[in-house]
Symmetry: C2
Subunit: 479 residues, 2 copies
């Protein structure tokens, strides 16, 4: 059967122009639309359903660790934002300001939250009095606003959806434990659910969150070799507690400051899914996050019995996965292209000949492989194939990532790799901010993280200045 | 056992001061806290968990009718808000305006959405071209802002959470059908899940939504006899479509305007639950919406075997309901008061004597009834009791509501009832706005709705002016 190429031809190939390919996919797969509000996107049903699945699974994992959800106001009074010095310096240049309520000017202007540390601190100050009130492990799902100059759908937009966890603890150790626990939760989620391998590590002082003592991050590699920060977890120590006066009476009757953390993941993850797994036919969704896992497409559906059988097949496999039937009036080829563009992991083709043979053709989105499956075996074959796809997608993404990690022992090597080879560059670092600045200025690569697990000392000197160095850093050009 | 009264004594009784009782309950049951942002509340875990249950159940019911979720920007450019004349007049006086992004003034100011009709229209204009693109049945869960002067937690706050559905249809009939369908979905949800009887009906011209052709509403009666509008569904006809130019090519190749609807429910429902079911010991939650349905409270938990048995019981009933164990160091009496304040439908008291008798005491929150239950029968008794409580709570709320509906045949009667008897007043209306205005001015009662089902003609003349009247109206003082 001739495949209708209209939808596919409309997207740019990845090799030709990755940025344009990305933009084509988000539009053609109907994940987003642009709005009249510059820099803000509309998340369409196909995009929002992915976010709902991300939310459901993350929220379940959060709650297993004792997280409770709350909702804080979306506005922050200017005086509250200013209470922690580093924090306000980091965020004030990029917030949106509300100056009028109804017809009247406000006596104090309010910013639309870019993040809610200050609001949680103000709240915790009121509700934490004793060690019995600790820990507080709260989270909220909401939207935040950062007035970015350059925007790209999902990756950087003036408003985005996220979750922000904010915790308060009696001891520094417990806060550190929670910071690492959430980073690991994020990493496991990315690897197990999004089939996206990540490097877990710590940010340098230069790259850490405004007001944090330490920021931990997971860094993923996109298909074009650029890095994407995919989730962060911050340990605030008692810095915010001191700025806001959050104290509790400990068991020994002493007044102490609490230790705090925060951690967040955003709709940016949808951009990561696109750029890790997508291909020239569009989106490729890992089965565990795909809103529709199997699309049943009847062939010659006008023929007697075809639609009925397709409905029956769809209902049957609907009991073991998220299945949908495309019984629209479009041609099968057009439906194939749509299913591929939308990244639906499997399609089932079912025509009169298949029905006569009590069989159907199952096509994998990730590999294009066509598999003849007896109808009676669908309920066992489909879940097995979905598991295989999930596993294979992770393995392929990991192989691609690992094939794009390069070691640099000196600055010449570093510059050559940065100029020629997309991917992560592993290089030792002396710890001096000047080297980070120089590397960024001369190569556009930034320090992504100091990895937790990969502690190999690939040389004994800083990849930039040649002085003694003990810290391994993953460098990369980043989104 | 002496009951620790501290928590209970701290709340005002309903009879003494209903408004203060309400405020006490929302604070003491830890549903909300006040924030530094005037008129905006913090929804605490106990409150947010109720909202999560409302969301989950409503969202499930929405999706069964074909609703798809999306996310629209939180900002609306002033020029977009102004496109539909009635709509902007209704909302402009109460929106918050963003005038600066980062350090720069905006070229056009943006309001924080008070509702998103204008954004959806702008979106639909771009994505609807043909009859094949219809219907669109989209919804979003988000927060909205209305700069109210007087605020009360859940009932009226400057920011609140809600869902807003926005649909577009090829015909006026289909739009009307969807408007009524969603109103009935809301009503069924309130009655089946929140155990809250509602009157379904149509708003008068005066009370309808800004820009709507018709607004349908569900009206509930609070314990103090005041009405609460609990959900609305609007039919816009093609008014917005004409203002925004949303046209499609129909099957006959003619260009036509779409017909639209919108419908919403908010965190106000939590206020309704409190005011319909609460009592002088605090919140009383209907089991179907209660985040925790059963609290297991050990008696003499320091004695050997008590905590272990309590844990075992909690785990066992945890398989058939949402159960929690209070193993904190507080006294049992204190725990009882807390469980009552928080409205947890059942508590299980379990002490050494109970354990020796393989039995426990189950106490209903709604009636205070104590029931001796054999431990081995808990898994069947608890779900049955939860069903009974749900049913009884609805029946009691309905009996209370029905006992507070009064008929007025002329204006003297109307004024006497309005002055003396809390509740709904049924009275005929001539259809003239002047009568509505007069009634409101002189009695503070407003027209709540013209009911769908109760069409009884209780007199032939307008309850206000005495002219011929055919429309029955439910009047009431409202939140």
């Amino acid at each position: 059967m001739a495949k209708d190429k209209k939808m596919v031809e409309a997207i740019t190939s990845m090799e030709e122009d990755f940025a344009q390919w990305y933009t084509d996919v988000v539009k053609k797969a109907e994940l987003i639309d642009y709005s009249s509000v510059k820099g803000c996107m509309i998340i369409r049903p196909a995009g929002y359903a992915i976010w709902e699945n991300i939310q459901r699974e993350l929220d379940r994992r959060f709650k297993e660790t004792g997280v409770e959800n709350v909702y804080m106001p979306m506005f922050i009074p200017e005086s509250l934002l200013e209470k922690e010095k580093d924090h306000v310096e980091g965020f004030a240049p990029e917030v949106a300001w509300v100056t009028h309520g109804g017809l009247n000017p406000l006596t104090e202007r309010l910013c639309v939250r870019p993040t809610s540390e200050t609001l949680f601190c103000d709240f915790y100050k009121n509700i934490i009095h004793s060690y019995r009130d600790l820990p507080k492990v709260y989270n909220q799902w909401c939207s935040v606003v950062r007035w970015e100059k350059e925007t790209r759908p999902f990756l950087r937009s003036r408003e985005f959806l996220w979750q922000e966890g904010h915790t308060a603890h009696a001891t520094a150790e417990e806060a550190e434990e929670r910071t690492v626990q959430m980073l690991n939760l994020y990493a496991d989620f990315c690897e197990e659910v999004l089939a996206m391998p990540v490097i877990r590590g710590r940010k340098t002082e230069k790259e850490k969150f405004a007001g944090a003592e330490a920021t931990y991050t997971i860094e993923a590699l996109m298909h074009d070799g650029k890095a994407l920060q995919s989730g962060t977890s911050h340990n605030f120590g008692d810095g915010f507690a001191k700025a806001f006066g959050i104290q509790f009476t400990d068991k020994d009757n002493t007044l102490r400051y609490v230790y705090q953390t925060s951690w967040g993941m955003t709709t940016r993850l949808i951009g990561a899914i696109i750029m890790v797994h997508g291909d020239d036919s569009g989106l490729v969704l890992p089965p565990r996050i795909a809103p529709v896992q199997v699309m049943v497409i009847p062939i010659q559906q006008q023929k007697e019995g075809v639609l009925e059988k397709a409905r029956e097949v769809c209902a049957r496999i609907g009991a073991v996965c998220r299945a949908k039937l495309d019984d629209s009036e479009k041609s099968p080829g057009w439906k194939f292209s749509e299913q591929e563009m939308r990244g639906i992991p499997l399609r089932i083709e079912l025509g009169p000949k298949d029905i006569a043979a009590s069989s159907c053709v199952v096509v994998r989105r990730d590999t294009g492989e066509k598999i003849q499956v007896a109808l009676e075996e669908l309920e066992t074959t489909v879940p097995r194939l979905l598991d295989e796809i999930q596993r294979d997608m992770f393995a392929r993404a990991k192989a691609h990532r690992d094939a794009h990690i390069w070691d640099a022992r000196n600055y010449e090597e570093f510059k050559a790799i940065a100029a020629e080879k997309p991917g992560f560059i592993r290089g030792m670092w002396c710890g001096d901010r000047a080297c980070e600045d120089k590397i960024k200025e001369e190569t556009t690569a930034t320090s992504r993280c100091m990895p937790f697990h990969d502690q190999e000392q690939i040389s004994s000197t800083c990849v930039c200045c040649g002085r003694p160095a003990h810290k391994l850093v993953y460098w990369g050009k980043a989104y």
